[in-house]
Symmetry: C2
Subunit: 491 residues, 2 copies
């Protein structure tokens, strides 16, 4: 006989639950407070891998045991991006206030697809704050998403819809086969892979994306862009959209935003800015001039889980003409229709009318809390500091004889240790081994990439915990590791 | 002069931070413990709306004040879905262990796009657990996403890619214009709007989606499906995919899964199941037979933030042939290339190769914790209970003379109070007013919909806190409200 009245998922013993929850808060504080004193990363032991190989648990385990496992097997083996010397893949470092925000969002439990409740208003407010940072007008609309890839996908989708609408084509009904002549989208050869993914997902195909060469600064070459557009017009394509990158992932290069804005106006093209890496520099008083021009974008992708350090996931797509966003996605079915009173009342549109999702979590809260706690000015100062630190790192490395790729873009430094007598492949292996050695020591994390056909190590500093002393510490450790490797028999 | 060394986002006073964090844990527990004793929902006061109209905060506010605001202005005005008598829009009710999971995920801070760390393994494990629940083979792959709409979008994208690949078309390169003959996708007239959104986003257009009529049970009519496929073949379409719904949002109807599976095999079509509402009934011993057939799907969308009550957002797309998922999305760029040692080492593919996102949060943890805490069997018992409660509600309403739409599908009851002498429009208004009145009283939340052209109220019971006594309490309140309204001058 099945249990006729199974208990809810609420704790059966509230005091025991409270004790465990408080213990995990203390664990979290201890974990965060001790970040600097622990290795940035370490390999997982067999017992941890075994735990994560177990099949579906059918019977209960005490919550306290589950929490011990989280502490011993999960918190103990992180990616490392919360550590002050993590400058590897481009991402933020999270923060405890944001973590409380995610906890309280789950306690609040509301679904933000729509409805008349506080979380919905906070979401609206956070989108307005981000539009304010970007310098967008009050007519803009936006939507909080999982991150930059989906934010860019949404920009591409709105651009595609606007392209069709301007030609009287019912894209949503008829699909992209109705688009004639076929639209072409331009981005730099250094643009993020998510733009290819967007072109593919949207059914335009990778062929619709034309990659424009970059200059020595790895920013889009405006002459090449102009030539490509003219060529395409002659060849029967319909130039549609230019994607400018404000901070490339490889080197932090910023495409010439005002020039592209002007070209788009002149040529009647949609101006999309991928600002996932750099747009939030608009908050930084000493460097905001670097991203001047983002405020002219028709659509802008940004990533508060990078330089605002919101715990994952928090991206945002902003669209200058808010109605264009709504027209691209709105699909309010019968059972979600608005009302003037009660839970379904409230606003002109549901949030699910602005993007891919129906159900929407309360991702806004973590950022709402930390922007209020610290104030936006403080985030601006932290961004300024990271950009300064990248320049400091470049100078220190050069002073020590390490080759640095110039110019240093925004907050990303690409560099390599040159070893006399090694060919390109051997030098790549040498630098990679030094990089991996520093990871295995748990001392620092940088990544590697290829620029102008040459292999470089790459430090992307978007980390509120990085102190200037960490730059020196890294340079010393890097040189020591390189020397050790150069002397070793395997070197 | 700017501050030369701004503080990190870590607390300056750790003890004060700890005190606030502990206080919010107590607040969260009190909030959850008191759910049943507070109104399900209430209108927000002007002060709350004012707070959420403020511009970007530039200067700091003490965290304790921010937390007070969350308590007084956000937790106090939720959507209501955590309340035991919320049966309105289809969603889960969250749970405190899941909330701790979201907190610890943010503390762990890892990005799950890839890399060699514990969170990545937990994500893999949770996907395997969900595949195990669905009865999928070990060759399956899956990806955790924001919810059902994206899970279904991913199913459609993989189906589209497989359709092209089988015909030697390079869809990712050439786009959907290369698909000739054009693919057609079938779903029931009761399918969720996200399938239209998927067809539009993927560039196939709404025209590619053919809606098949339903029988009196509101499930797909197999004869009509067969006829439509034959018609389409004659007309030059290429039938490509059948989307079966395991639990429609309107009425909980379940399309004939084994029949559709068999038809897809015979006709060489992709078999996608939208199981966002019903697939997790596979966990429920007394009702799993209702969704038999989902294990035969080529792709399956499911939503652990519904019947497993994971805090939002947690959806999942499963694909029977895991390589098909990878081939649809994988796009690993230079700077994310794998390694055999260090942070980038580990697995054959990055998680970002399996979907739309690059950055990926640790959504798996909340479910990993609560599945371990309660055991999957307990979730099965709770699902059985919700289905029983829907049947109980239908019987109680009928016994009281309320019209119930039969058959009752899964856990959704559609009903209406018939008032002699009122035409259809007046009866709709009558029922809606009763519905909104119960929301405004904070007593219960149901929604409304249209079935067979008639307006019904709709109770969708996917709530671990609902007790059988809540069914009786609702029926009494509903009848009382209806009587009151029938007697009122405005009635």
């Amino acid at each position: 006989m099945p249990d006729p009245a199974p208990a809810s998922l609420d704790p059966e013993d509230w005091d025991a639950f409270a004790a465990t929850a408080h213990r995990m808060v203390d664990t979290a504080i201890r974990h965060t407070r001790g970040l600097r004193d622990r290795p940035l990363w370490r390999e997982m032991p067999a017992a941890t891998r075994r735990l994560f190989a177990a099949p579906l648990p059918l019977v209960p385990t005490p919550l306290a045991t589950v929490c011990d496992d989280v502490r011993d097997h999960i918190l103990a083996y992180p990616l490392g991006n919360a550590h002050p010397r993590y400058w590897m893949w481009f991402m933020g470092a999270s923060n405890l206030t944001g973590a409380i925000g995610d906890f309280l969002a789950a306690v609040n439990a509301s679904n933000l697809h729509g409805g008349n409740h506080a979380a919905r208003l906070v979401d609206d407010q956070v989108v307005r704050w981000l539009a304010e940072i970007a310098g967008f007008p009050a007519t803009a609309a936006g939507t909080l998403v999982s991150g930059g890839s989906v934010a860019n996908l949404i920009g591409h989708a709105v651009a595609r819809h606007a392209f069709a609408a301007a030609r009287g084509i019912d894209l949503r009904q008829d699909g992209v086969v109705a688009l004639a002549p076929r639209p072409r989208v331009y981005c730099s050869a250094q643009a993020h892979g998510c733009h290819q993914k967007a072109a593919e997902v949207l059914g335009l195909g990778n062929v619709s994306l034309r990659r424009i060469p970059t200059g020595p600064d790895l920013a889009m070459d405006m002459d090449a862009l102009g030539t490509a557009i003219a060529e395409d017009r002659r060849a029967g394509w319909a130039p549609a959209t230019v994607v400018a990158t404000a901070g490339t992932v490889n080197s932090g290069a910023i495409d010439p935003l005002p020039g592209i804005a002007e070209l788009c106006r002149r040529e009647g093209l949609w101006f999309h800015v991928d600002g996932c890496i750099g747009a939030l520099a608009a908050l930084a008083p000493r460097h905001r001039h670097l991203v001047a021009g983002i405020e002219a974008a028709d659509s802008l992708a940004l990533d508060p889980h990078k330089w605002l350090h919101a715990p994952f996931e928090l991206g945002c797509a902003l669209v200058r003409d808010g109605t264009a966003l709504l027209r691209t996605f709105s699909l309010t079915p019968e059972y979600l229709k608005g009302a003037t009173r009660g839970i379904a009342a409230g606003t002109a549109h549901h949030l699910c009318d602005l993007g891919l999702q129906t159900t929407r979590g309360f991702r806004a809260l973590k950022l709402w809390m930390s922007l209020r706690e610290h104030g936006a000015n403080h985030f601006g100062a932290l961004i300024d500091r990271n950009i300064d630190q990248a320049r400091l790192l470049a100078c220190r490395l050069e002073a020590a004889g390490v080759e640095v790729h110039r110019p240093v873009g925004l907050n990303i430094v690409c560099f390599r240790h040159r070893v006399p007598g090694l060919d390109a492949a051997a030098m790549q292996q040498f630098n990679r081994e030094v990089m991996i050695g520093l990871q295995e020591e748990g001392l620092a994390a940088v990544s590697d990439t290829v620029l102008d056909g040459r292999h470089y190590l790459r430090a992307a500093i978007a980390n509120h915990r990085t102190a200037d002393a960490d730059i020196d510490l890294f340079v010393d450790a890097f040189l020591r590791a390189a020397r050790r490797r150069a002397l070793s028999p395997a070197g």
